[in-house]
Assembly symmetry: C2
Homo-oligomer: 254 residues x 2
């Protein structure tokens, strides 16, 4: 792998260019990319130009740089989440028409929940989620659900960390988190009322692959009122429907 003088590979620098785009950044100047990536402006400019040549970035009329449609296409088409999303989407649409609230599908990515699909309801309760957005594991119903079925080492790592507080309901101590995870496993769902925002409640159930592994959380975000919990049964039915329509994973090599 050819390396630049600093010992860092060209590929690593190109990745830093793309990683400069944060949540909500649709367009950046080369100067901003240079500052965020820590690359010299000449290096950033050269890499932006080369990536634009492949259609992975694009320069606008206003000289700003955006992620190119070609990169989006490749990433979407071959995404490891594609078969999950394709299995889940028709079920999510049915669910959406029944409950008329936000429906979302999240997977564990790093130590956060990453939302890979979302159906919104105009005028429905407030929701912090967006597609390809992330939420912390301890404060969202999808995150807590996924953490409850995660490896013990990851659970201990999260329990040992400071837990960010969003409302007076947010789980904020190791003891509360440990007990909440045990409750999720016992019940088979996560229900958090007012943990991220006082007006919203989230209910999440596991989506299992045909081998029984938990691969995602299917959640509904509803107003924080007395009927919120009643959505869990329909969520569980929907989750089972997703599993049935998933492809059987390839067997591991012997």
């Amino acid at each position: 792998m050819p390396r630049t003088q600093g010992g860092e590979s060209v590929l690593s620098r190109a990745v830093r260019i793309i990683e400069a785009f944060g949540p909500g950044d649709t367009a950046l100047t080369v100067t901003e990319i240079s500052r965020r990536s820590g690359l010299h402006i000449a290096t950033a400019s050269r890499l932006v130009e080369e990536l634009s040549g492949f259609g992975w970035l694009q320069r606008d009329e206003d000289r700003k740089v955006r992620i190119g449609v070609r990169m989006w296409e490749l990433a979407s088409r071959a995404s490891p989440t594609l078969s999950l999303r394709e299995a889940a989407m028709p079920v999510m649409e049915d669910l959406h028409s029944i409950v008329g609230q936000h429906i979302q599908l999240g997977v564990m990515e790093g130590d956060e929940v990453l939302f890979v699909e979302r159906l919104t309801a105009p005028g429905a309760v407030i929701n912090y989620t967006r597609v390809a957005g992330r939420l912390p594991l301890h404060a969202s119903s999808s995150g807590l659900l996924l953490l409850a079925y995660a490896p013990a080492a990851q659970q201990e790592r999260i329990i040992a960390r400071p837990l960010e507080v969003y409302t007076d309901q947010t789980i904020s101590t190791p003891q509360q988190l440990r007990s909440a995870l045990a409750e999720v496993r016992r019940q088979g769902f996560a229900f958090l009322a007012g943990h991220l925002h006082p007006a919203a409640a989230g209910a999440a159930v596991p989506v299992r692959d045909p081998l029984g592994e938990v691969v995602a959380a299917l959640a509904v975000i509803v107003p924080n009122d007395a009927i919120a919990r009643s959505r869990i049964a329909v969520l569980q039915a929907a989750s089972a429907a997703v599993t049935r329509s998933m492809e059987y994973p390839a067997p591991p090599p012997r």
Copy 2:
């Protein structure tokens, strides 16, 4: 830019690795990647390893290589299509609940239509579209619509090419295509019955940005029957709603 012995940059080789993933390929072996990219297997293996280190690719238990969730996340979040998709999705959901058929949103990409969102209806008519899938411009209602509003040079390029035939209804001659494009511009929509599949009809209308430029096609795929055309009015109303909820584009520099 450091270059390899053959004069090709490392970045270009890395792009060839990712481009090896075609529509429907969720997992490839390193051997397949090497063959498709034309790179030596040792080079392919080294680049796969480096890209996996960034989370852009991932190796499964079965040794197959997949596009990594991190690449999907970056591409989805910063996608130039994001503001369009976010403006369109709530409207598409409403439309979907009214017509109960496939609803899709396509943009021009290269000389094809690329579908950036799709809502399906279980049990609805056959449809060849998938998210991040492509269709030819002359044979799909979304493609014909976008081509009708494309620059004249692109129209002439497509008209001059051989036109692939899918059914006995497919537009197959330069004269037919030229006349179909004029009809789309005159009517303000594209309606193709049985051009891709005898049982399906597509109706597409333009989605304009707040400056009046056509930026996407909003389409419904319905059974090829007498009522198919009646969907156009509701599509046009939905398209206007998308434009209203779009962000005003940044003004060009003076």
